[in-house]
Symmetry: C2
Subunit: 225 residues, 2 copies
């Protein structure tokens, strides 16, 4: 009990700092994230923040992990809410949830999926949270009884995929895994183009376009229905 109250306060304040930091991202991007700016917005001295994050990079890491986890749990929740739908519609529901999150958290999307931050190297602790999103897609594909006979197999030479993928998804064939990966990077490509302004002269109605595109990706994944 002695420590817990102190620790609670610490945790709450750290959350508050991250909240303000997320707002700062909008103005100056990840590369320009500044502890002094955050302190200014909180009406505190910049040195105060060092009680909570030993360094600017530590704060960045915390923001990155939070963003992956937030997006990851959003995807997982959307999947659970769609359990009774067809595999295709499960997939579409998850994709739409991912897109909604991305539109509402543009700066965090850029933080985790945009250009690497100069002079910052993401530590290993970011890997597991980052994997949550594609794992949801893989689980849908697995339980969705892939039926890819229409398309023929993806001609993937052996050992192209990382061995760790096989450990994570032991009952999936390389063909299935590569289809999932391609689906995930295709979804990301759609979101990135939309959010970073590369559809300005080509797509007029983003919602509808995304929806069609995602159904098409589901079809290519071989999902039922």
């Amino acid at each position: 009990m002695t420590l817990s109250k102190v620790q609670e306060n610490r945790a709450a304040k750290a959350e508050q700092i991250k909240g303000v930091a997320r707002h700062c991202l909008a103005n100056d991007g990840a590369a320009g994230l500044s502890l002094r700016e955050i302190a200014r917005r909180m009406n505190e001295s910049s040195s105060a923040l060092y009680r909570y994050f030993p360094t600017r990079d530590a704060l960045l890491t915390a923001l990155i992990i939070d963003a992956y986890n937030d997006l990851g749990s959003t995807a997982e929740r959307a999947w659970q809410a769609a359990q009774r739908k067809t595999p295709t519609n499960q997939f579409v529901a998850v994709c739409k949830a991912i897109r909604s999150w991305s539109l509402e958290h543009r700066d965090e999307f850029a933080l985790i999926f945009g250009s690497p931050i100069p002079n910052y190297a993401a530590p290993e602790s970011t890997i597991a949270p980052a994997a949550r999103i594609p794992l949801v897609l893989a689980h849908i594909a697995r339980s969705g009884t892939i039926d890819a006979s229409n398309f023929g197999p993806v001609s993937l030479p052996p050992r192209v995929l990382d061995a760790r993928l096989g450990e994570l998804l032991p009952d999936m064939s390389p063909d299935q895994m590569s289809r999932c990966l391609m689906a995930w990077s295709a979804i990301f490509g759609l979101l990135s183009f939309e959010l970073f302004g590369h559809f300005v002269n080509s797509v007029a109605k983003s919602d509808e376009y995304f929806s069609s595109a995602v159904y098409e990706i589901a079809r290519r994944l071989g999902l039922k229905s």
Copy 2:
């Protein structure tokens, strides 16, 4: 003749500045591009650069346009070199050229396709150069006699695509255009994941993976052969 020599020198020096600037991008990213750093590397005073670029943003714009044009002409050359191949192989050749350029120009790739640069708004003059790359893909699809009957049409409601696309590609159906757009964003997704490190734990051999993925995208585009 009076002006031409002076103008030549000016142009040559501007090119030199951009060359040094491209090297700076590697260390500090687009957001951190600094005229003072460029000047330091050239052993000149920072104020000297203002003879050539009125502002830091003007230099950024020049770099962005150059990057789009460089990548665009790379894609166009690859297409021309592959004229005699099948549509699918033309497509694959262009994609591989795009990937090679991206791997050799990681910083410029991030400059044009990465997170938006804070407090910088790209002017209209970047739009046309940016369009060159997807236009090559569209031309291949058009001349490659799309055969999408295996897949059924993409169910795209009317007016989802921008009207300007139709003007640019008057003889393409919305179905064809949306397939091209989806192909382009899928390719971009692959490149972005590879370059920004999101394949570290899943793809072990990037060359082979990209190759398979791109064949698959060509198939989905309905390209012959």
